[in-house]
């Protein structure tokens, strides 16, 4: 029954390069179109379309009651979202920049994360908290934090972070559909990364909590997520010259944590490096390395290593390349996995 014109239009739209920012916008747009309970709110999300244009066009299409420019107050944004969720709405809030989310921390930890538990399931909190995070875009201070460890340490929250255009759409749809609060960490430096992507036939909506093997390999596993995925894939290519066949696991979800995929990979390869750009001390890598060590001890040929940002406040933009783990630092770690030779 498909008309020629429709087919042509679909072909024209199919598999065009799309950015992660566009995929995120499309996810919100589709969710809002399907469910009138979905409301977007935050500073600058309306007429401006967000400082990264992720909410571009939503206010025009759905009205200011559905995509609302709020006063500049993160605790107020998230706190009012709690009340909206109590009344049956599904708020999607934007925190604009990672370090700007901190004023909302009390609402997040004391109410958003605990409300379901406090009320024995009577008041679920279907709130999506979008936090553009991480460095690499030359932002001045307070614009480049990787705050995932704080969120991971709070029971009651889901913490997810896409690294591909497909996942940006699929995971955000899943986050908005979730009856639990989801801290949705958007890697800023991947906002403009492009992929062949068809908004007409978007990727499957990913269930939250499943990691994916992005590259198969036999000699070691790189466990990573979000902005560090591209670094790891590049490192894996470069390592081939050294004879390393690296597997790359993209976690996608930090909470819940996909032990199964990570353990299966490390048991196959016998070696693991955890790579992320947030601080190493007290960071996600410590938890991940411990989980691997507890479950894969007899399969390991070397200690689990971490490649992370230094334990410093995020440096000024002209120095950030020295802080962010790059391909060379990952390759150095891989070289150190030659445990038997070294010891």
């Amino acid at each position: 029954m498909t008309t020629v014109a429709a087919t042509a239009a679909k072909t024209a739209r199919a598999a065009k390069p799309a950015t992660m920012a566009q995929a995120l916008q499309r996810a919100m747009r589709d969710a809002m179109a399907e469910d009138p309970a979905v409301h977007v709110l935050g500073e600058d999300v309306g007429a401006l379309g967000g400082v990264f244009r992720v909410t571009d066009g939503l206010a025009a299409e759905f009205g200011e009651d559905r995509c609302t420019d709020t006063p500049l107050a993160e605790a107020g944004i998230l706190g009012t979202a709690v009340g909206m969720a109590m009344y049956g709405l599904r708020p999607v809030v934007e925190m604009q920049f990672d370090a700007f989310a901190y004023p909302a921390f009390e609402q997040l930890t004391s109410h958003v994360a605990k409300m379901r538990n406090r009320t024995r399931g009577a008041l679920p909190m279907p709130i999506t908290i979008r936090v553009p995070y991480g460095g690499g875009i030359g932002g001045v201070e307070h614009h480049s934090d990787s705050s995932e460890a704080y969120y991971m340490a709070t029971p009651g929250l889901h913490v997810v972070t896409p690294a591909t255009v497909d996942d940006a759409y699929g995971l955000l749809r899943a986050a908005i559909a979730s009856d639990d609060p989801v801290v949705f960490l958007e890697p800023k430096r991947l906002y403009w990364s492009k992929a062949q992507w068809s908004p007409e036939a978007p990727a499957t909506v990913e269930p939250i909590g499943r990691a994916v093997v992005r590259r198969t390999g036999l000699s070691a596993t790189l466990v990573t997520y979000g902005p560090s995925l591209t670094v790891c894939l590049e490192a894996a290519e470069a390592a081939r010259a050294e004879g390393w066949d690296l597997e790359v696991v993209d976690l996608r979800s930090l909470v819940p944590f996909d032990d199964e995929t990570v353990i299966a990979s490390v048991r196959r390869t016998g070696r693991a490096v955890v790579v992320h750009e947030s601080n190493g001390f007290g960071g996600p890598g410590g938890e991940i390395a411990a989980r691997i060590s507890e479950r894969c001890f007899h399969h390991l040929e070397a200690p689990v290593l971490r490649v992370a940002g230094f334990d410093i406040p995020y440096p000024p933009p002209m120095l950030e390349q020295h802080h962010l783990p790059g391909v060379d630092r990952v390759l150095d770690a891989v070289a150190r996995l030659q445990w038997e030779a070294d010891s």
């Binding site: 107020g76 538990n117 009320t119 819940p256």
Partner: protein, 393 residues
Amino acid sequence: MKKSSTTVQEPPGAVVHRSTPPPAWQPRTDPAPLLPDREPYRVLGTEAVADADPELLLRLYAELVRGRRFNAQATALTKQGRLAVYPSSTGQEACEVAAALVLQEQDWLFPSYRDTLAVVARGLDPVQALTLLRGDWHTGYDPREHRIAPLSTPLATQLPHAVGLAHAARLKGDDVVALALVGDGGTSEGDFHEALNFAAVWNAPVVFLVQNNGFAISVPLAKQTAAPSLAHKAVGYGMPGRLVDGNDAPAVHAVLAEAVRRARSGGGPTLIEAVTYRIEAHTNADDATRYRGDAEVEAWRAHDPVRLLEHELTERGMLDEGGIRRAAEDADAMAARLRDRMNADPELEPMDIFAHIYAEQTSQLHEQAVQLRAELDASAEPADDARGQGEAR
């Protein structure tokens, strides 16, 4: 003071529909009509009492007596170890009762930890209201069923919730008003500011009632704010501020009723400061003698909300000795029922600590639940079982 002083004069431009906001460069309205009166509004002992509904006055009295008795009983239960803690609202019952009675069934109440009485006066089972303070569970009731948010322990954080809920209800076209309760200390918190600002900008149908009981634990109001009154804070947000005698139950009810009507009719939020006093210590863990003298407390006892209303009703021939006795007996019976029910040990299920963390349990939590189950099963086994003896040999 005349009743007219609480009749909110609608200032030009104050009732602004959200679709037609004033130009940003113009002040929203002349701030003068938003300012509270210099003296708290009173009904008892003034001509305004003649206009008050006699049925309401008697209802307020009965609830005040029950509330006073409830506070005494709950305080006794802390001494018996039946409650982990009880922040008494003795002296503040007029605020609590008025807050509960002013709302319609579909409206929402957002209480703080000291507002057990308001929750009970709204009709909630007292045992459910005390669940948090008993330590049985965090919230003892379904907030949606009763339109009562969980008792909030962090200060002022429930205020933005009230704003968000009221805003959501208005977007849906529902006739719902949210009433949020907060103490004087809570007005210093950032969430208080953000909630009032959002409420005014969104013109949300929400009413904020500050129970100024003089102290934030030990810190007196003078060290909390330099504002002329807490009600003055409203002006900066573009909403009316109202000052009321918090020990005068019909006055609190009248001012709240006016604000609720205003919110319901699309007139936006109101900030009300009720000046009252916390007769008891902050909680049973607090020693109030370290920061205030007996003379001050005694002066406030003379302004007791229960006695004030009782005196007025007696003077007017609406209440006699028999009526006072019946109210006391009714309150005693309520306290006896409460005592009996609270003296029964709650049935706790340890595995409940893993319930309701997420809609679907994560594999991590599942493993931990299995661990606790095994620990519970092991501790339930008889000590002298055959396996244990076998190992001993």
